[in-house]
């Protein structure tokens, strides 16, 4: 982490990430398309993350509800619990917690995988084998994270809401139908759509940072570990920055 304190290194890093991102943006839509690898990555990145994301989402929904209940009871608005939890989950908790867990799981695995491929010359081997490794490795993974995180976030929202429903029912009694209606009533498109859109950016950030860190890994096994670690740290910070930007932009556009 010491290197981050150095402003020069930091700026250099930002510049390189920007260049890397630009390269991705230029490369991704050009043939040839690594469809098979893309689907494989979608499976690994998306489907295989579901149990973890689901578990954390469920617990978040449950805990959030249980934590909010006492203050809601104090203000005498216990019946608004589903509405407030619904908004919290859909707007913020669902996307951000999912993205952070995703950064922890996928960011590190991409960083480590590409890092070790770099170190053991697998990336060179690909290039020699007539494959653009940037396309094969980076584009497929970044596209997969970009497209899979929103999917995971939606499922996490659903599971979180179910957790919240159980949380409401620990000390109260609400039918699933009433809970659902209360949640839906409290939501508008302005709650769902911006939250959904920002998850694409979260996914993109996790993918780009993981690939960048892995792709530019230093020689040696230590480099691989550092790449994996840095990928998670930078991606997590970036998620919060994007979240901040997202709320500013939606506010500016009047969709808040």
């Amino acid at each position: 982490m010491d290197s981050y304190i150095n402003a020069g290194n930091f700026l250099k890093e930002v510049g390189e990430i920007a260049r890397f991102t630009l390269k991705f943006l230029i490369t991704w839509f050009k043939p040839r398309y690594e469809i098979k690898e893309f689907f494989k990555q979608c499976y690994v990145i998306g489907y295989k993350s579901l149990p973890l994301i689901g578990l954390t989402g469920f617990i978040m929904g449950l805990v959030l509800t249980m934590q909010l209940r006492p203050s809601m009871v104090d203000y005498g608005v216990e019946s608004e619990l589903p509405a407030i939890v619904g908004i919290a989950i859909i707007r913020e908790i669902g996307p951000v917690i999912t993205a952070l867990i995703f950064a922890g799981k996928i960011g590190s695995s991409i960083g480590a995988e590409l890092g070790s491929m770099k170190v053991t010359e697998q990336i060179d081997a690909m290039e020699v084998s007539g494959t653009n490794p940037f396309k094969y490795l980076v584009v497929s993974r970044v596209l997969a994270t970009t497209l899979m995180l929103p999917i995971l976030a939606i499922l996490s929202d659903a599971i979180s809401l179910y957790g919240a429903y159980l949380g409401v029912n620990i000390k109260g009694e609400t039918s699933l139908q009433l809970f659902w209606i209360q949640v839906i009533d409290s939501l508008s498109f302005n709650d769902v759509i911006p939250a959904f859109i920002k998850t694409y950016f979260f996914g993109f950030a996790v993918g780009i940072i993981g690939c960048y860190k892995g792709y530019n890994s230093n020689k040696g096994t230590e480099g691989v570990g550092k790449s994996a670690n840095a990928a998670v740290v930078v991606a997590s910070v970036l998620i919060f920055i994007i979240d901040l930007l997202a709320v500013q932009i939606t506010d500016l556009l009047g969709y808040n």
Binding site: F39, Y43, G46, Y47, I90, I151, I154, D157, L187, S188
Partner: protein, 325 residues
Amino acid sequence: MKNNSTDNIKLGVFVLGALFFLILLLYMIGKNSNMFGDNYILKTRFENVQGLKAGNNIRYAGIDIGTVKSVYFINDTMMEVKMVIDKKAKNIIKKNALVYIGTDGLVGNKLVNILAVKADAPYAVENDILPSKKPVDTDEMMRTLSKTNNQVSKIAEDFSITINKLNNSKGLWQLLNDHTIADNISNASIQVNKSSYKINEIANKINDIADVLKNGNGTLPKLINDKNLADSLTAAINNFKTAAYEITEAGKEINHSVALISKEVNDGKGSIHAILKDTSVTILLEKSMENIETGSKGFSDNMDALKHSFLFRGYFRRLEKRNKQ
């Protein structure tokens, strides 16, 4: 390769599951704002829409039947509100239904209420303009409320000053706290009770004596002629009279004091505290009590003297004997 295709199936289920939930969520929200399904449009006009916005609910008899689609100017004094109404309400809302803007709860969102009118009319159809009722202007309401509020606060202020003064009034608290006065008053009434009982008793006894005298048997008629006895009896009766008079006077005084207080309270002269603060009244009351006390004391003294008079000694003894029997 087989492995790969099952992976892709799982991936497909995964993605479709999420998309299903997203679409369901969006559909439900959309349905809530009547974006899908069979609707028709009704319009109404207001001079002031009080912040009504697209998306606000429309209620008929307390049931959500639609949402506001848009609010726009027609001219400088008129706003038109376009309402998307569920088709189900087609055979319910009539052309003469009144539309007014309300609020969900006290501080909730604005909403449009459609109020059915008793009079008969055809059902409203697409793009009909329903008559509107000038909305209850909450600003106006707030202004009135604030005026009322001011007055209430002024009254409350006066009241609090009065209470404060009462709190600080020494006289009242002295009166309320002074146990001696209360004790005195209660003692006095006991005395008055006793005295009147005794007066009754004495009167009975005097009656008895008079009976004896009338009948004229025994030594008593002789005794009557005894000048000493006659003198002492006269003195006793005089004393008795004085005592009775004093008691009556004391009672009058109390009555007077009480009447004074209640009169002044009734007349509303000055504030309550002033009366109660007035120590002279307290003094007056205390004085009256004293008088009653002295009065009854004098009376009982006289009675004792009467008992001890040798003339009546025999009589009292007999009386005691009779009581014993």
